[in-house]
């Protein structure tokens, strides 16, 4: 189980208090083109390495925030409030780039 720091509550809380809410920083303005809309709805980078994702603290403040996590080690690098720009963090482990 992950320990996740909610940036609003400023506390590390167990994963079961949260809901995963998919990839973060997806721009939803597509101009109505089918291909662009399919990209927004369905296509994902699904990276083996650092992923930017949304979590919601359902059993706490109930707010959405963003998180950078390494999908190889599951280590959380940074959580930050929705609307803030993606922090610049270096790739954390040798395994992440493989």
């Amino acid at each position: 189980m992950l320990l996740i720091r909610c940036p609003y509550c400023a506390m590390e809380r167990p994963e079961v208090e949260f809901r995963h809410a998919g990839h973060a920083h997806i721009a939803r303005d597509t101009g109505g083109d089918d291909r662009a809309w399919a990209e927004v709805l369905y296509l994902r980078d699904n990276p083996k390495g650092v992923v930017a994702e949304r979590w919601r603290h359902v059993a706490g403040c109930a707010r959405y925030f963003n998180c950078l996590r390494d999908t190889v080690s599951d280590r959380i690098l940074k959580t930050y409030k929705a609307g803030e720009p993606m922090p610049d963090v270096a790739a954390p482990s040798a395994g992440a780039s493989r």
């Binding site: 992950l2 949260f18 998919g22 399919a38 994902r44 990276p47 992923v51 190889v72 599951d74």
Partner: protein
């Protein structure tokens, strides 16, 4: 048969007497082609089982092939086998970064069934189930196909309605599926707890009698052996690190940890790593990779004659021929390539198992592991062409790919060999996520199966 067996006795003598390299080679060749039969089993038993040959070759990769399959799991090996058998394509390599069958093929809970809701799904899973029925004979390898019945439990009114809808849809498509009362369910699986005072009482069950299990490792080994015998090169410890494309955009081959290997056709069958491999060709996929867990108990005497699944409380169980109870849990909430899942996911499943099967409460769990499953938005697979000429993909089997192994390989072999989708595979395009023609099994089928 008798001739090759006789060679086993005469062969070594010939080698000794003549000392001719050619004879050694000839004996070696006969050994490799040794088929499994009652006669050969007896022969090998008398020789203390010392004469069984290697089951597949381990060649160095050639400079160039007609086609390359990326991933030597069940689906990839089946693809190569049917390409050789049905389409005469034998200049084919299967490249595997680890060892053969070491990914999800060796990590699943071996359940087979075809009782899906939509016609497209029914067609491909039933195609697969029919192939399972004759697979051991076709491969000359015992995959231990056991049609012991798959029973899916209903715990409330909504479950019962959905299950009955499945039963009716399946029967319209000519696929067996029947509705059981709680008493009938208990008669079919005596260790089931059907008392009305449990947290999620059983109100009925849908039973597919032709469903069951097969031995997962044997499926990989059987396909590898049969493909290798037809000339397919299976190259293990050979990780694909790049996909090369020519000036016209078409693929020209792959960079690997063992050098460049050329091919005009590449079929990616990389399960949880499909997004990573496809990114090498610049293709983004509608996939997310999640850890999915399973567990086995200590082995006990036969106590469970069938497979039981419950989608609502997320637990399923069967008993292996070794006696272990094989239990499937759910996926984690987040995407990951870690091949381990959270303990709370497995615990949640065991709570449900203990309620459904009180007899197993004091059993200890021997092993718990995870595999990485590639999940599509509509929980149906993607089988077919990609925007890159010469590049094909077979992925998105998510939490339930094992049952589809023969059918998936069979239709994908057609797709790669002919360049056009097999009719059964035709609805499962990558393009459906643009057109909106989804095959939405997300709510209809089991979450994990």
């Amino acid at each position: 048969m008798g001739f090759s067996s006789a060679t086993k006795i005469i062969g070594p003598a010939l080698v000794k007497v003549a000392g001719v390299r050619l004879t050694i080679k000839a004996v070696d060749l006969w050994m490799r082609r040794l088929r499994f039969s009652v006669f050969n089993l007896v022969r090998q038993a008398l020789a203390h089982n010392s004469g069984w040959p290697e089951q597949w070759r381990s060649p160095e990769p050639k400079a160039c092939y007609d086609a390359i399959i990326v991933g030597a799991g069940g689906h990839g090996l089946a693809t190569a086998y049917y390409m050789a058998k049905e389409h005469g394509l034998t200049n084919v390599a299967v490249l595997e970064k680890g060892w053969l069958g070491g990914g999800n093929t060796g990590r699943n809970t071996t359940i087979l069934r075809s009782n899906y809701l939509w016609e497209e799904s029914e067609a491909i899973y039933e195609h697969s189930l029919k192939l399972w029925e004759g697979l051991s004979q076709d491969l000359n390898y015992n995959v231990m196909y056991s049609p012991r019945g798959v029973m899916m439990l209903a715990h409330n009114t909504h479950d019962a309605q959905v299950s009955k809808r499945h039963v009716h849809a399946n029967r319209l498509a000519g696929i067996d599926n029947e509705w059981l009362t709680p008493d009938e369910a208990k008669a079919f699986c005596p260790i089931l707890n059907i008392s009305k005072d449990i947290r999620y009482p059983i109100v009925g069950a849908a039973l597919q009698r032709r469903g069951g299990t097969a031995r997962h490792d044997a499926v990989a080994w059987g396909y590898a052996r049969a493909a290798s015998a037809r000339g397919v090169d299976i190259v293990q410890n050979c990780e694909v690190t790049g996909i090369r494309r020519g000036a016209n955009g078409a693929v020209t081959g792959v960079d690997t940890s063992r050098g460049f290997v050329g091919a005009k056709k590449i079929g990616v069958v990389a399960a949880g790593h499909t997004s990573v491999v496809m990114a090498m060709a610049g293709v983004r996929m509608p996939l997310e990779s999640y850890p999915l867990q399973a567990l086995v108990s200590e082995p006990v005497k036969p106590m469970m004659p069938c497979v039981v699944m419950s989608n609502t409380i997320h637990a399923y169980m069967s008993q292996s021929d070794k006696g272990e109870l094989v239990i499937g849990a759910g996926t984690d909430a987040y995407t990951s390539y870690s091949q381990t899942g959270g303990l709370h996911i497995a615990t949640h499943t065991l709570e449900a198992i203990c309620e459904l099967f009180p007899a197993v409460r004091r059993l200890r769990m021997l092993r718990n592991w995870g595999g990485i499953v590639d999940v599509t938005p509509d929980r149906s697979p993607i089988i077919g062409k990609t925007p890159v000429p010469g590049l094909f993909v077979n992925c998105g089997w998510g939490t339930g790919g094992f049952k589809a192994t023969p059918g998936s390989g069979h239709v994908f072999a057609h797709t790669v060999a002919t360049g056009e989708p097999h009719p059964i595979a035709a609805p499962f395009t990558l393009d459906r996520f643009r057109t909106g023609r989804l095959i939405d099994e997300a709510a209809a089928a089991a979450v994990a199966h």
